[in-house]
Symmetry: C2
Subunit: 298 residues, 2 copies
């Protein structure tokens, strides 16, 4: 089983083509639905009393929500605007609401999880959550600019305690004070993690492990409607794939990254999580195969 | 034999680490030396009386310079400055000098060339040069912002007359007025070319042909000293590889693009053309193999 600890949000997404108000979003949402195509997935997250039942029911269709707490107060809200290129997002508003001072409880049936994905929360909370699991085979963490700027030492400690660090290029640069991504990854590996994945949005990702580098070009998408959550789908899809894989080695790690990246390529084709909700497992498998064929050189 | 028509420049390159004054550069220089590792290559280009003999001798060591004309006047000069990221270049000065009103003459022994690379010149001149070759098996053209802004219709006509269009992402966007690169490539293919290569610098390149898309991640480089000429090395290396290949098909085109991209990955490791001058063919082959191994998934 895979356990994901992350945020659930009511997202307001502004693109040049349209505005969506308070749609179901957040790193835990995107990543856990992506993971659910490959394995049993449970989330640990918090929402407020205003969280719509319909959103709760959507999540329940895909994942175990026993670790989803409804608390007094308002759900975490995010409001962001994309420019015409879809590659730059401006944050208009972030309301932490119930995310502030959340004291996560891990349901007993989650505790057997061998796979843990710490999506984007407070690094101290992440370290604490991770301590509740005794049979961890593989853990992955991600982080955001906010934590790097406010709790850098905790971010580094969290990375040291995780097998895989997945991080955006810009955040890797902010964290390591290096510009070159190979240098960024080397510094992060020195923190004590085994694998580093630098996410580059539409340009794909680069995986680093010991002296191995695996650059993965993104599956090219012609009609991008909303890039929100693509990186979370990559992390969730990858961890979902690996949770259902017998051996963790370079071969399966690479394949997992590809599967996650393909989940990311789907989600950007429609607003919010819409594409994930209409997606069938065989479409994912088909696109993975298509990618393998198109990048096959010989 | 491969014939390359392009510019030879005296480049002043400013990076955060150092400034190089009037070093040997230009699209014809980078691309023809790259091509020379794979096949016999001749250039058609013009320099001024101030062009140093030592530079001429350097070129002669790699390529046929019978089509290199020395004219009264000054050699084309370019002066540009990179920011700390090495991904943005500001043009400080461009002096066309002898490039202006150059009337290219094609040496007789070039006329049997089956492979033609039109690197970055005036599109009308490019179309005219191409007409001199009767046995063209494969032609490639590139262009720069200046020609798109001043002679867009000629650029389109040139592309219609070329089998392969290689173009930077930003220039593809400027030309097609699309942002999405898949859309850009589709529009360029509609101009009448067979293959489109969108070059994305450190992020690699994407090749388009009919309904086939081949996204190629770049070989990751840890120490970038000077990105100048990387795109020209890609085009030249690719055309050099293909000139020495029996069959032109999707398989060899992909392999050619990879070889060109690897040439580009070498040139950025040192200033100007320095890296090319110390490069051995077996190093290129080794890095191509290394890339194939690192990106091999299974």
């Amino acid at each position: 089983m895979l356990t994901i600890f992350g945020s659930i949000a009511l997202d307001t997404i502004r693109t040049p083509a349209s505005i969506l108000y308070e749609v179901l979003g957040g790193a835990a949402t995107f990543s856990s639905i992506s993971a659910s195509f490959f394995s049993e997935t449970g989330i640990i997250a918090v929402v407020g009393r205003d969280f719509p039942d319909s959103y709760h029911n959507t999540l329940k269709k895909y994942i175990n929500t026993d670790g989803l707490i409804k608390k007094k107060g308002k759900t975490f809200r995010y409001d962001g605007e994309y420019d015409i290129t879809f590659s730059k997002r401006k944050t208009l508003k972030t309301e932490l609401n119930v995310l502030r001072d959340f004291n996560p409880k891990i349901p007993d049936e989650y505790k057997k999880s061998e796979f843990i994905y710490l999506a984007n929360n407070d690094p101290d909370q992440n370290i604490q959550v991770l301590r509740n699991f005794d049979n961890v085979k593989l853990s992955m963490c991600d982080t955001i600019e906010y934590w790097i700027s406010t709790k850098k030492l905790s971010v580094i400690k969290m990375m040291k305690n995780s097998n895989i660090v997945a991080i955006n290029d810009e955040e890797a640069r902010l964290l390591t004070k290096e510009y070159n991504l190979v240098k960024c990854a080397k510094k992060i590996i020195e923190f004590g993690t085994d694998y580093v994945i630098i996410k580059k949005g539409e340009h794909g990702a680069i995986l680093f492990h010991e002296d191995i580098i695996y650059p993965l070009a993104a599956f090219p998408i012609e009609n991008i409607k909303d890039p929100t959550g693509a990186g979370d789908c990559l992390g969730g899809g990858m961890m979902g794939y690996l949770s259902n894989t017998k051996n963790i080695n370079m071969k399966t790690i690479k394949k997992g990254l590809l599967c996650g990246s393909i989940l990311g390529s789907f989600v950007v084709e429609d607003y919010g999580i819409s594409k994930l909700l209409s997606l069938q497992k065989n479409q994912i498998i088909d696109r993975v195969k298509k990618y393998e064929n198109m990048t096959q050189e010989l």
